[in-house]
Symmetry: C2
Subunit: 339 residues, 2 copies
DNA sequence: ATTTGCATTGAAATCGAAGTCATTATTCAA
DNA sequence: TTGAATAATGACTTCGATTTCAATGCAAAT
């Protein structure tokens, strides 16, 4: 009974409004789209009856006819990197400010990506912002074939014509290295993110290069997976066989914090007295007074805005050439390094 | 030129496939929906030509005719509470496992909610999971009117017939209090979340009640906003005028961590030697070896799954009565309290 | 060989708005 | 007052699938 009632309840459509207001369905449509040719009188009449009947335009129907879904897919990797939540929030904000909806996809493994891409084609999203690592050439090409604009966040793709927004890893890492060298550190250790990650590779290689520029060759490297635990484990792995280094350069803040905790809690090392640690990203926890990490802060909000701006531009004008935008981060001289 | 090319490129529709395969458009549709009456021969033929032409069913068109969008709105408050990212990830996971898409809405202020709700009606989502605080009676009623099932996460609504999934705050808080009392703490301080938050009010009042049960009356309360900074500020505010308490009971982990940092860094207090601090939620950072917070861990994954299960059930069967599910958390005896 | 029953199939209606086009109303200048 | 130009309006088509319904084919049963 109640069930029937439920099923029977009909949504109010533009035809219902039209009939009640004594105008055509077209008039109702025009009343709701700004800038179309309609008299104030008619619009008022329509709006009034629409409100009375509780009419809401059906976005699905609009999508179908107008070939614009107003939906942007945001693809995000697992949450182990704490910069993502902040970023996601900013991006969502900028997108909705411009009248877009966010279709969220999270993925942990690469296999899932195929699956997600398949859904993207059927859901006809207007564009994609990818915060995920597992994108390769093949994937990018698919987007081109489907005419769906993409912006890759913090992913270099030097050889592909695709939109990217990056923090200036090179500049940031060099500043960190310089800061450490100037403070007199001599024995370095690099904790890198996974080799599948472009960003990790970038940050690691630039660090090593800049260290060489200062005359420090053959700096040892250990590999983690960006997680807190991997920061801890890498450090204790190192300590099992070696003396403590002067300074540890980590690919991100989360690993750096793991490293600091391990050094302090397990090995009783004073940071920064006995050991300096630097990270990268500027996650919220990096600023906690228990750490006050020396790091480079990604200008998250500007980068989020840039991603959205670029994407919108490509959606408006699909033939604009791809853009690779780079924003510089801010060196934060915290209390995990000496001066 | 390229532009024209772009505009002209037509998407492949079911008609195109039908023509190429020499069958009717209906047959193409049936080939792609499982369980419909179609011969293996025809299905194979359709699938083969579909693949050849690169056909993907248009989900928008399907939504329009079938009155199911397959989209679930997830409404989430600002990211200051670090349990949200984890939760969001789990919920998204469970939803997509069941073939649903996630439309993400983030909100900071209450005004935005009106706006968001408006969008929900036009986008015809199948259901809503609300992780946000700013829901009141009026909002809940609107969902009923629009026949959209909702699940509220960690929000009591004792007097409203609405689906909720809650961690057992009462049980968790009592365990924390008992733990503190048994360890010999006598002078308590409660750091509450904002009074607009049901959860905060709940946790605070239960803590106070349980303290009274142990004979501790008139325990002082300070109010923060769930953020790390508010944890710090509340504690130093207290210290400005009073002696340090034995134990601080915080409404969530983030405030607890702020409180600990402030106590250790600014006031040089040993935690747990001189001061015990407990939180609630079990965020990832609570387990960091720099803290090892004593807290109650929300069974995030089960709660996420429960939310999704309940929502799906209401979507299938809109007249099922509302369900209020409560899951118990796990007491984590960390190193921020004595035994 | 004919009938019955069931699985396939295609034609056509449908979902709800937007956009095209032809028609009517209005405004302003001559 | 008339005509030209412009604005407002409604009828109809369209988007791309699902779904209903009637028609067809085929196999088993008589």
């Amino acid at each position: 009974m109640a069930k029937r009632n439920h099923q029977v309840r009909k949504r109010v459509t533009s035809y219902d409004v039209a009939r009640a207001a004594g105008v055509s369905q077209s008039a109702v449509s025009r009343a709701f789209r700004p800038g179309l040719s309609i008299s104030d009188k008619t619009r008022d009449k329509v709006m009034k009856t629409a409100k009375k009947l509780g009419y809401r335009p059906n976005a699905i129907a609009r999508m179908l006819i107008s070939k614009r879904s107003g939906m942007i897919a945001v693809i995000i990797s697992s949450i182990s990197n704490l910069i993502y939540p902040e970023l996601l929030s900013r991006i969502t904000d900028h997108l909705s400010r411009r009248g877009n909806k966010v279709l969220l996809f999270t993925l942990d493994t690469a296999e899932q990506l195929e699956n997600i891409l398949d859904q993207l084609w059927t859901y006809r999203v207007d564009g994609v912002i990818a915060l995920a690592a597992h994108f390769d050439h093949k994937d990018i090409v698919q987007f081109e074939e489907h005419d769906i604009p993409v912006v890759l966040y913090n992913r270099q793709a030097p050889d592909h014509p695709v939109n990217t927004v990056n923090v200036d890893h090179a500049q940031g890492v060099r500043q960190l290295v310089n800061h450490l060298v100037k403070a007199g550190n001599r024995r370095f250790l690099v904790l890198s993110g996974p080799t599948q990650s472009d960003v990790a590779n970038d940050r690691r290689e630039i660090a090593l290069e800049q260290l060489r520029n200062h005359g420090f060759n053959d700096v040892p490297v250990l590999y983690g997976d960006y997680s807190y635990e991997s920061g801890r484990h890498c450090f204790s792995e190192w300590m099992a066989e070696h003396d403590a280094p002067d300074a540890v350069i980590c690919s991100n803040d989360t690993m750096a914090i793991g490293c600091i905790d391990e050094a302090r809690v397990r090995f009783g090392l004073d940071v920064p007295g006995a050991l300096s640690v630097v990270g990268f990203d500027g996650i919220l926890a990096a600023f906690w007074s228990g750490y006050e990490l020396t790091t480079v802060r990604q200008p998250v909000n500007q980068m989020a805005k840039a991603s959205v701006d670029i994407l919108m531009e490509r959606i408006e004008n699909p033939d604009a050439p791809p853009e690779k935008r780079v924003l510089v981060g801010t060196l934060i001289k915290g209390k995990t390094t000496r001066n």
